[in-house]
Every structure is written in C-alpha cells, then in structure tokens.
C-alpha cells in the first residue's frame, strides 16, 4: 500500500487499465472506483497520480474536480455535490481484498 499522502491504482479485473485506486488516510484505507462522476473517465494524469500536490485531496485531472479524500465527495468543480464510488474492502493477513465479485461492473 502507498504511504499516507500517496495513492495507487489497481486493475483487479485485468481490464487493461487501473479501474480502482487506493489511498491511506490517518484512520485507515480507502478504495474508490477510478471513474469521475462528471464524465465517467479515469481521474489520474499519470500512473498513480490521483492526489493534489499536498496529498490531501483527490483531484480529477480531466477537468479539475476536487474531492474530499475521506468521503469521496466532490467539493469543487463540475460535479460538485456528487461522490466517487467508495468500494467495500476487507483487510486480512496484510492483504487488501475488495468485497466485490470479479465481474462487478464497478471494476470496469
């Protein structure tokens, strides 16, 4: 897992691109679907670059939407008031599992 202030993309369903991303917050780990509520496109500008410069917010680098890193709520930008889909997760023996079926549409 990435250190606090950084994020990392994953491709659990082997779709060919990172469809989810994870970040560590002070109180635990969050995993979001890599799918901006504005236009349904990936957020990062480069592999694993999902956060603002200070690592405190999630940014969509398509049209600059800002999201609260803890809740996924869009606080500024074209999809203000909408949220990133936060994905259910389980941590076991140091592994992070998504509590989703491998063919879940959320992983596409």
């Amino acid at each position: 897992m990435p250190p606090v202030g950084q994020a990392r993309g994953f491709d659990p369903a082997k779709s060919g691109r990172d469809t989810v991303f994870a970040l560590r917050r002070s109180d635990g780990i969050r995993v979001y679907r890599n799918h901006c509520p504005h236009q349904g496109v990936p957020l990062e500008y480069r592999k694993d670059r999902f956060l603002s410069g200070d690592g405190q917010r999630i940014l969509c680098y398509a049209h600059g939407a800002h999201f609260d890193a803890d809740s996924g709520l869009c606080t500024d930008g074209p999809c203000r008031g909408m949220s990133l889909a936060s994905l259910p997760l389980v941590i076991e023996d140091g592994w992070l599992y998504l509590a989703l079926a491998p063919d879940s549409p959320l992983l596409r």
Binding site: E44, Y45, R46, Y61, A62, G64, H66, D76
Partner: protein
C-alpha cells in the same frame, strides 16, 4: 489589429515539480524561471499558485492565471489599449504591453510577439497518382524519431456566456469566426494568422470557468501518433484520441494533466482567409471527430512482438 495568437499561457499550480516534469515529458524545452518553450519560443509558464507575480486566480489551483497574446507591431498595442480603455481598466507594462481582463474575467496581456523563425522538416508522403515526396531509400519512420512541439496553437476556454465572450473577441479585438458548434461555442481566429482557430470557447455553467485545454502544433499526424504513444508509454492518461477533428481538420490526442486542464498534441490544421464563410454545425460526435482510434497494447492474440526488436 495584427494579433497573431497566444504566445504564452501562465498557470498557477500546487505541484510545480509535477507540472515541470509533465511539460518536459510532453516535449517542451525548460528555459528557466518556470518557462517551457516550443521551437518558436512560444511557451507555457508554471508558477506556484501563491507567487505574487501572478494575477488573481479564477478558481482553485491549479488554474490559468494569464493568457499572453503576441502581436505583430506596436500600432496594434496602441489600438488595443485605446479600444479596451473605453470600458475597462487597462494597465500598460514593459515594452508597451497591454494588460486587461476579457468579458469573462480571464486576464489577458498583449505584447510584441516572441515567436522566432525556425525551420523543421515536413512529413513527406508517397501517394500513388501523385509524384512521390520521398524518393528511393528514404524512410518515413524510424524508432528514434524525435517529436518537438513547434508552436503554441490554441487555447480553449470554458465561459459562462459564449455569445458575449465571442462578441468581445470579434468586435473589440478583430478576431474572425471560422466555424461554430451551435449552442456550444465558436472557433475564432485573430487577424494575424490563417490558422482555423487559436481560440475556441465552450459554454458551461459559471463555476466551471477556466481552460479546457491547450495544444502545440506538431509537424504531422504521424508526429501526433508518435508523440502520444511515447507520452502514454511514460504512464500519462489519455482523455480523448488519437483522432482527427472535422472542423479544422486537425489531428488530436488529449491527455489529462496536473495543470488543471487537458493538454493536447495537434497537427495539420486548415488555414482560412477572410473569404471563408463560417459553418454552423450541431456539436455531435460526427462533427467533432472524423475518426477516432483507441490505442491497444495487445494487437494480436498472442501479444505484440518486442518493441523495436528485429523481426
């Protein structure tokens, strides 16, 4: 008014290092003090969002802070200053430069152009039925071709009132309307260039005001495909493309960026003069892309041969 086009775009950002890396990987040359230049000297300037040299921001960082237009002569600077001081605050700066806001609130400045002459090769084509442009043994493609952005082409703005924004550029600054997406926005060309557009405006809700994208011209469609492929290989995220636009005929490939807007590679745009009559088209996919490819790593079932390998 002899306005040529955008010479520099100035951004205020929260991650200067990421933006510097991005623009260097895109192909611009770092020229010091946050400046990243194309072959003709047109550039993007990156500054920390709280840099006191920057005009006030429109939205949260990262965002555009100033659009610098290059003009061909000093008389144009005087004409712009006289025209804009009729209804807004105009500040004069070094070398006679003119500084004012447009009708949407973007900070503009106008200065004698910094564009310098340069030469760069054309992409030569062998088309049956037409004399060959590449003779025997001249190769069209090699693995270490270098693509360099040549000149700043255009900037696209989200504006809350595109009719008002268009009227400002056309009736106050002498831009020409080349084409228009009905209900969405105009493609505009200043009098000092024949390029289809150096400015495109898109109607959006007011809180989205800002830059949608900017692009530098490359030498050809082949160069767009090559530069985009290399940029993707460095891990950058495609937003749209590669493809070819219908209005303007330009090749395109758009990427996400840490500058707060998309950044495009573009090439081979139509030229127009004042005899052209603007087309008005609905904004559907048919009129915005003539064709669109999606890059694919795996192009036959057992996977691609090694990149650049002999086979």
């Amino acid at each position: 008014m002899n306005i040529i086009g955008p010479d520099a775009l100035v951004f205020g950002v929260d991650d200067v290092d990421a933006c510097s890396q991005y623009l260097t990987d895109y192909g611009l040359t770092p020229a010091g003090d946050g400046r990243f230049e194309a072959l003709d000297g047109t550039c993007v300037v990156i500054r920390a969002a709280d840099d006191p040299r920057l005009p006030p921001a429109i939205g949260p960082a990262p965002s555009i802070r100033e659009i610098v237009y290059g003009v061909g002569d000093a008389a144009t600077l005087e004409a712009i200053a006289a025209e804009l001081s009729k209804d807004r605050e105009v500040r004069r700066g070094e070398g006679g430069s003119v500084h004012a806001d447009d009708d949407s609130g973007f900070h503009l400045s106008f200065a004698l152009t910094i564009r310098r002459p340069y030469t760069a090769p054309a992409d030569l084509t062998n088309a049956p039925g037409h004399p060959p442009q590449r003779g025997p043994n001249l190769l069209g493609i090699n693995w270490d071709m270098k693509v360099e952005p040549r000149t700043l082409s255009h900037v696209v703005l989200f504006v809350p009132n595109m009719e008002q924004a268009e009227a400002f550029y056309v009736s106050r600054l002498g831009f020409r309307l080349t084409d228009k997406f009905i209900g969405v926005g105009p493609f505009l060309r200043p009098a000092g260039t024949q390029d289809h557009h150096t400015l495109f405006l898109i109607q959006t809700p007011p809180f989205m005001k800002g830059v949608e994208h900017f692009t530098f011209h490359l030498g050809s469609g082949t160069e767009v495909l090559l530069a985009g492929t290399q940029f993707e290989a460095k891990g950058y995220t495609t937003f749209w493309g590669p493809g070819r636009h219908y209005l303007g005929s330009n090749w395109f490939w758009y990427f996400n960026s840490p500058l707060g807007c998309h950044v495009e590679y573009d090439a081979d745009m139509d030229l127009h003069d004042d005899t052209w009559e603007a087309r008005h088209r609905p904004p559907g996919a048919d009129n915005s892309q003539l064709f669109l490819f999606t890059a694919r790593e795996k192009w036959f079932p057992s996977g691609p041969p090694p990149k650049g390998g002999a086979h």
